[in-house]
């Protein structure tokens, strides 16, 4: 089962890529995938995505198929799903 991950804004630099395909290797929730992605990439992406308690940072939004992920509710992933990470940006 494969999903696509997209990184927006400065998260792109943290991940070293704009997008990647990931083989889940089994059933995973969005929350489990986020933790796994952070562990695989290491810093700086881990620090961008997760806080000290391993939860999604308040500065980042995650979406599965364009719907916001609620960290408190396990969101099962399916083949072909797209997970998007987005950080807050501003203007100038």
């Amino acid at each position: 089962m494969k999903v696509k991950i997209r990184y927006c804004g400065q998260l792109k630099q943290g991940a070293g890529c704009a997008a990647e395909a990931v083989d889940l290797g089994g059933e995973l929730s969005a929350q489990e995938l986020i933790a796994s992605v952070a562990a695989r990439h290491g810093e700086p992406l881990t620090g961008y995505l997760l806080d000290e308690s391993g939860r999604l940072r308040a500065t980042v939004l995650a979406f599965v198929n364009e719907e916001q992920v609620d960290w408190e509710t396990a969101r099962p992933l399916g083949d072909g799903d797209e997970l998007v990470f987005m950080s807050a940006i501003a203007g100038g």
Binding site: C8, G9, Q10, A18, Y48, R57, A58, T59, V60, L61, F63, E66, E67, Q68, V69, D70, E72, T73, V84, M86, S87, A88, I89, A90, G91, G92
Partner: protein, 241 residues
């Protein structure tokens, strides 16, 4: 509540093409004429928002931006000019907008939104457009707009990407609820093209026009995220169920 203002014959001629838009008409134009909008910073984003709202005939624009024009502003801040280097940004912007549309009331405030002026600035308008570079300023403006029950259009950009949403009182969250913390990695100066700020600025102006006139569907509860590098546009559904 916006009080529509009747149009003169000259205004009917100027705004004719947009009054042909179905469901907008003269009634929509009268609402724009009666409306007031605060634009927080008139740089790459806000300058284009202001230009489009002035062209569209929003009756009163309040521009808040401190400081003078620098060379590094000129790649994207389209209300600024080379011969304006070293001069007040907001005064230059007001002059350009009056040249475009002398029928409007333009109020130039040579200050950024801060704790001392936020309540007065927000209280003086019907709608707010947030184009500021610093999250402290954005959160303050959002809190004030929410507390005063004012709609707020939120525009943001980075590199080739942009974000746009509209916060409506009593109907949506505001920025400080969507992002309770500012990102630690955000810097005051960042990479971006003027064509990116211009694109999202035009869309932000359209959001303001829609909210004021009642046409279309504003991006309430949705976040438009786009990447002009790939011409990829996504409308993200905000809120967790």
């Amino acid at each position: 509540m916006i009080e529509p203002k009747s149009l003169t014959d000259e205004e009917r001629a100027v705004y004719e093409w947009q009054m042909w838009v179905p469901e907008f008409g003269e009634e929509g134009q009268e609402k724009l004429k009666g409306a007031s909008v605060l634009i927080s910073r008139i740089g790459g984003l806000g300058g284009v928002v202001a230009y489009e709202l002035a062209a569209a005939g929003v009756g009163r624009l309040v521009l808040a931006h401190a400081g003078d024009v620098k060379p590094s502003d000129l790649n994207r801040q389209l209300l600024m000019t080379h011969d304006g280097l070293g001069k007040s940004r907001v005064e230059l912007a007001a002059r350009r907008l009056r040249e475009l549309n002398p029928r409007l009331e333009i109020e130039a405030v040579a200050e950024n939104v801060n704790e001392d002026n936020a309540a007065t600035l927000v209280g003086s308008v019907d709608l707010v457009v947030d184009c500021a570079p610093l999250f402290e300023e954005r959160f303050l403006l959002n809190r004030e707009a929410q507390s005063q029950g004012k709609p707020l259009v939120e525009c943001a950009m980075y590199e080739l990407e942009a974000q746009l949403t509209t916060f409506l009182p009593g109907k949506t969250s505001y920025l400080h609820e969507l992002f309770p913390e500012k990102p630690g990695w955000w810097k005051r100066e960042f990479p971006v093209f003027g064509a990116v700020s211009g694109a999202v600025g035009c869309m932000g102006a359209m959001e303001a026009i829609k909210v004021i006139s009642g046409i279309g569907e504003p991006l309430a509860g949705e976040l438009l995220v786009f990447d002009l590098g790939e011409m990829r546009f996504h409308k993200m559904k905000l809120g967790v169920s």
